[in-house]
């Protein structure tokens, strides 16, 4: 009985993870520009891989393997932001026509809010 519960839990989490991977792959094809695509890929990087690996850890052969799988998740979540930050920085610094692809705000957010308040 308990094995079936484990199986169903694993199946649910893995299917959710696979659906999120699918949506992020769709996003990678749908969006027009590299940095927008990066947001879609970040979705698969965080929640997709997290759900898949937690689901697999539920039905791992023994306790230490499950702990190791969770360690993979933690390592991945620590390293993924660094790599996507560097990629984004590469894109921002090498692209000479940034204004074509996004709205660039020159002022900080706090300053913009103050100006809006003054206008109102």
């Amino acid at each position: 009985m308990i094995e079936w519960i484990r199986f169903i839990l694993t199946a649910l989490l893995m299917i959710a993870g696979l659906v999120i991977f699918g949506i992020s792959t769709l996003g990678v094809f749908r969006f027009k520009y590299a940095v927008n695509r990066m947001h879609a890929a970040a979705m698969g990087d965080t929640l997709g891989v997290g759900l898949c690996l937690v689901g697999l850890a539920v039905s791992a052969p023994d306790f230490f393997v499950a702990a190791k799988i969770l360690m993979v998740v933690i390592f991945f979540w620590l390293s993924a932001p660094v790599s996507s930050h560097l990629l984004c920085r590469l894109e921002i610094e090498t692209n000479e026509r940034l204004h074509k692809y996004m709205t660039v705000h020159e002022k900080t957010l706090a300053q913009e809010r103050e100006e809006k308040e003054e206008e109102a």
Binding site: S24, L26, L78, H85, T103, T108
Partner: protein, 154 residues
Amino acid sequence: MFFVYFALWVVLNGKWTTEIAAFGLAFAAIAYFFSCRFMGFSLKTDARLMIRAWQAVRYGVMLLKEILNANLAVMRMVLDLDFEPKPQLVKFNSGLKKERHRVVLANSITLTPGTITCLLEGDEFLVHALDESLVEGLDDGVMITRLKEMEAGK
């Protein structure tokens, strides 16, 4: 830190026997001595970290919730096929004093889908957001208030 090393050793070994535990204690002690000697850890900072560990756990739970919310938002954007995102590149000052907290904030911003930190110089963050609605909670959202609380309450 000693316990972290020990747990890492045991988990990577994948078995629990007396031999492994004894070797683990020895190697964890060596690694702890090394990190005290060369990386600026000490018993005093460790004690402070232990006291603040529950704060870190609370921050982690909050971060998980944020990641879930942002994932749902970005998923809705991807699945809505008529929707065309309006990407924004915004700047803001965090007001955090310590380098460590700034790095944690930058990593959390990048980890939530929909926002990526591009540059972090001094106190100025340059953040790319997928849409206007995602810019809202950047410089006065939950994460930054929690970090400020952590900074004030030490």
